[in-house]
C-alpha cells in the first residue's frame, strides 16, 4: 500500500465523523450529508498532490466540503420550478397584513434569547420551505459573494432574487414566531 493511500485512510478514520456532522449541520439531511462526505474524500484523493501541507488536513477537507455544500445549494436554487411560494395568504389586497398575520410579541424582552434552541427552531422552519427557496436563502449567507454576483451565478434578475428572498423570509419568520416566541409566552 503506498503512502498516499495510507494517509487518506488515516484521514477517513480521523475526520470522517467530523465532516459528517458538519455536513449534517449544514444540510439537515443524512443522505445528503453522507454523499457530500464521500465526494469530499473522492476529490481529496484525486487532488491529493495539491495538498501541500500548508494547512492542516482537517482544514483542507472542510474547505472541499464547504465548496461541495455550496454547489449542492446552488444546483437546488437554479432548479426550474413551476410552483411559486405564495404570500397572498399573509397579506390583504391592499398590502396590509391579513388578520392574525401581523408580527407580534415582545421581542425586546427576549433578552435571554437562547441561541441554540433558536437554531433548532430555525432549522426546522427552514426545512419547511420548498427546496428552491430553502437553497436561495442559504446561499445568501454562505459566501462573501455580493447579491449582484449571486444573481449572475443563478442567472436570475435582481428583482427575481429579491422577491424569492422576501417570500422565503416572510414564511420563515412566521414559522419561527409561531414555534419560538409564542412558546415562551
Amino acid at each position: 500500500m503506498d503512502n498516499k493511500n495510507k494517509i487518506i485512510i488515516s484521514w477517513v478514520n480521523d475526520y470522517s465523523d467530523y465532516l459528517y456532522n458538519w455536513a449534517l449541520y449544514k444540510s439537515s439531511n443524512k443522505e445528503v450529508a453522507e454523499d457530500l462526505v464521500q465526494d469530499t474524500f473522492v476529490i481529496a484523493t484525486n487532488s491529493f498532490e495539491k495538498f501541500e501541507g500548508k494547512s492542516s488536513p482537517k482544514t483542507w477537507l472542510v474547505s472541499i466540503l464547504n465548496n461541495l455544500i455550496y454547489e449542492h445549494y446552488r444546483k437546488k436554487a437554479k432548479h426550474k420550478n413551476k410552483i411559486d411560494l405564495d404570500i397572498s395568504d399573509l397579506f390583504k389586497e391592499n398590502g396590509h397584513w391579513d388578520v392574525g398575520e401581523m408580527p407580534s410579541g415582545d421581542f425586546e424582552s427576549e433578552s435571554l434569547l437562547d441561541d441554540s434552541n433558536f437554531q433548532k427552531v430555525l432549522a426546522d422552519c427552514l426545512s419547511k420551505l420548498p427546496d428552491k427557496w430553502n437553497a436561495v436563502i442559504k446561499l445568501k449567507y454562505m459566501t462573501d459573494q455580493k447579491a449582484d454576483e449571486i444573481c449572475k451565478d443563478l442567472n436570475i434578475t435582481k428583482t427575481n432574487y429579491w422577491q424569492m428572498v422576501h417570500r422565503a423570509k416572510i414564511h420563515l419568520r412566521k414559522c419561527v414566531e409561531q414555534n419560538y416566541f409564542n412558546k415562551n409566552k
Binding site: N5, I8, I9, V12, N13, S16, D17, Y20, N21, W22, Y25, K26, E34, V37, Q38, F41, V42, T45, V62, N66, I87, F91, N94, G95, H96, W97, M102, P103, S104, G105, F107, L113, D115, S116, N117, F118, Q119, K120, L122, A123, I137, K138, K140, Y141, M142, T143, D144, A147, D148, K158, Y161, W162, Q163, V165, H166, K169, I170, L172, R173, V176
Partner: protein, 89 residues
C-alpha cells in the same frame, strides 16, 4: 413617493435593504412606515435577527463562531459511512 407605503411593501424593502441597499426615498418610506406600524417594525427586528442566526450557521467563517456545542453540531459516529468510503478507495 407615497406618503405611506403598505405593510407588504415595507417588508419587501427590509429584505431589499439587506441585499442591495435602499435609495434615499425608499429608506425614508420604510422609516416612516416602521415608525408608525408596530407590526412591521417588529418584522424588521426579527428579520435581522434571523439574518444573524443564518450567517452564524451558514457562513464559511462559522468556524470562528464557537458553535461546536453538542446541541447544535452533533457528535455522531458514523461507522457505516467510514466503511463505505474506505471500501471505495
Amino acid at each position: 413617493m407615497k406618503l405611506m407605503i403598505s405593510c407588504l411593501k415595507a417588508t419587501e424593502l427590509v429584505e431589499k435593504d439587506s441585499l442591495f441597499g435602499l435609495s434615499l426615498i425608499e429608506l425614508f418610506e420604510l422609516r416612516i412606515h416602521n415608525y408608525i406600524c408596530k407590526g412591521c417594525k417588529l418584522y424588521e427586528t426579527q428579520s435581522k435577527y434571523i439574518d444573524e442566526m443564518l450567517i452564524k450557521k451558514f457562513s464559511y467563517n462559522s468556524l470562528d463562531y464557537n458553535i461546536h456545542q453538542d446541541e447544535i453540531i452533533k457528535n455522531i459516529t458514523n461507522e457505516k459511512l467510514k466503511e463505505k468510503i474506505l471500501n471505495k478507495l
